[in-house]
Symmetry: C2
Subunit: 282 residues, 2 copies
């Protein structure tokens, strides 16, 4: 798993090398290569591997997913949005560079993801399907909608149902589509199972975030803790408490395991990654 | 021409209808349908028409181009960028809504352009070529690079050569690619001619903007005039004066006409559009 992550980082850097020199390129690389879990590309590649496919052949698609994720972090951190100073243990992009550069670096990563997929040697039909899936999930009916709702509920009390809807889009869509894209390549019949598994995993991941925001430290997490309380945000923890939230996480992971065992794949590979996520402390 | 423009506006609205309700959708429609020239989609469709093709078949591709253009206007106007209050005769997006909504609406339009092209009934190979062309031109090696350099030279004196490089990317890339995409559909042998014509037209268009910034009124232009002087920007007018700048515009248009007459197309259609641009007062 460590090797896969290093390969992703290596390829992310390579894909940025041909770009025109300047602050925007520097900012793109700074944010892309900040220490992170590379969760979404790891999920995508691990699912491919669990179908006995050579995951390296799809490395650029994995990088495109990480580019979309990173663009969303850069823009979400902007002063006009969540106004965060710390991300992945480093200054946020607009703090390290400036606001204009951070806006452009986000735009550039959102833009680059398309071209990276379209310039692979995959056949055109697959390129179209993968790009379509990724940009539907990250668009205004997906991740962007999640961020819009998240901002709205900073000043409004959210019900558990509303909170779940935010997480479904803000976190779930991109995690789920990483799995769906792999299924689209490996076995389309399994796509619906991976899709639902992705939403369960996305929700579990987000509830973990809510828990870590009150139980972890800024140093450990690499971003400011306690920000949910400061922003008067409704979270699973404020609505249910830590214990019930953790129970929900465990239940969601159980559902993920069941779905995995129901498929004809190498279960061990993907389970190993899921257990790593379950036990995460940052 | 008026009919074509109305069809573009109509289709832009239709393409936004299926989006999830919310401030981001409202902001997207607000900015997309603000009174504008629709220059880039008009160029794209008129070139197709000049090859006797049914332009309506490619309407969604035209709309994708306008989405990319509009996203760039929304983000360029942000407080962290050019900080403009007026655009196309209306409040800028972040003034009408708020900064977060404007960031997300720009992101959403950049995102939507991909999906709009990929969801047409064109064949996959053409979808890949068109999307690739459009997102290369608007990416960090194209339009985004132009905006980066433009911001840099707000605080630095630019030479005529440096100014031309900014215009080449900030304005030229997207205008040129609108023509290239049409050539890609209609006649690939002509692509190189349209490409260069697009850069000449883009430069002429930008010099016109520099001239209008000192000769027009805010009411006529729909955006603040005199902003170049206020921002201490080097422009064709500050470097060469109005008369020499206008002479350059006329020369560039002459070059465009020559290129058009050298191609086997219906010259009248595209010339009519170019003359309209040459004579523009806003």
């Amino acid at each position: 798993m460590k090797e896969m992550k290093e390969e992703i980082n290596q390829r992310l850097l390579e894909l940025c090398q041909p770009l025109k020199e300047g602050k925007v390129k520097d900012a793109m690389i700074y944010s892309l290569l900040a220490p992170g879990k590379r969760l979404r590309p790891m999920l995508f590649l691990t699912v491919l591997k669990s179908y006995q496919l050579d995951y390296r052949f799809y490395m650029d698609v994995a990088c495109a997913i990480e580019m979309i994720h990173t663009y969303s972090l850069i823009h979400d951190d902007l002063p006009g949005m969540d106004n965060d100073d710390l991300r992945r243990g480093r200054k946020t992009c607009h703090k390290q560079f400036d606001e204009a550069t951070a806006i452009l670096a986000g735009d550039a990563l959102l833009n680059l993801g398309v071209n990276v997929i379209l310039q692979t040697t995959l056949n055109d039909s697959l390129k179209v399907q993968l790009t379509n899936l990724l940009y539907q999930a990250s668009g205004v009916n997906g991740m962007i909608y999640g961020q819009q709702q998240d901002l709205y509920f900073e000043n409004h009390q959210a019900s558990l149902e509303e909170l779940q809807d935010i997480h479904y889009h803000k976190t779930g869509d991109l995690i789920s589509v990483s799995l769906q894209m792999a299924a689209c390549i490996a076995n389309k019949d399994d796509l619906k199972h991976w899709k639902q598994l992705g939403y369960d995993l996305g929700l579990a991941f987000q509830i973990q975030d809510d828990i870590l925001d009150v139980t972890s430290t800024t140093e450990q997490l690499g971003k400011m803790v306690g920000s949910d309380i400061e922003n008067h945000k409704s979270t699973y923890v404020t609505l249910l408490g830590i214990e019930a939230s953790q129970k929900k996480v465990d239940e969601l992971f159980e559902k993920c395991y069941e779905r995995i065992y129901a498929m004809q794949i190498n279960h061990g590979l993907i389970l190993e990654l899921l257990v790593k996520i379950l036990k995460r402390v940052s």
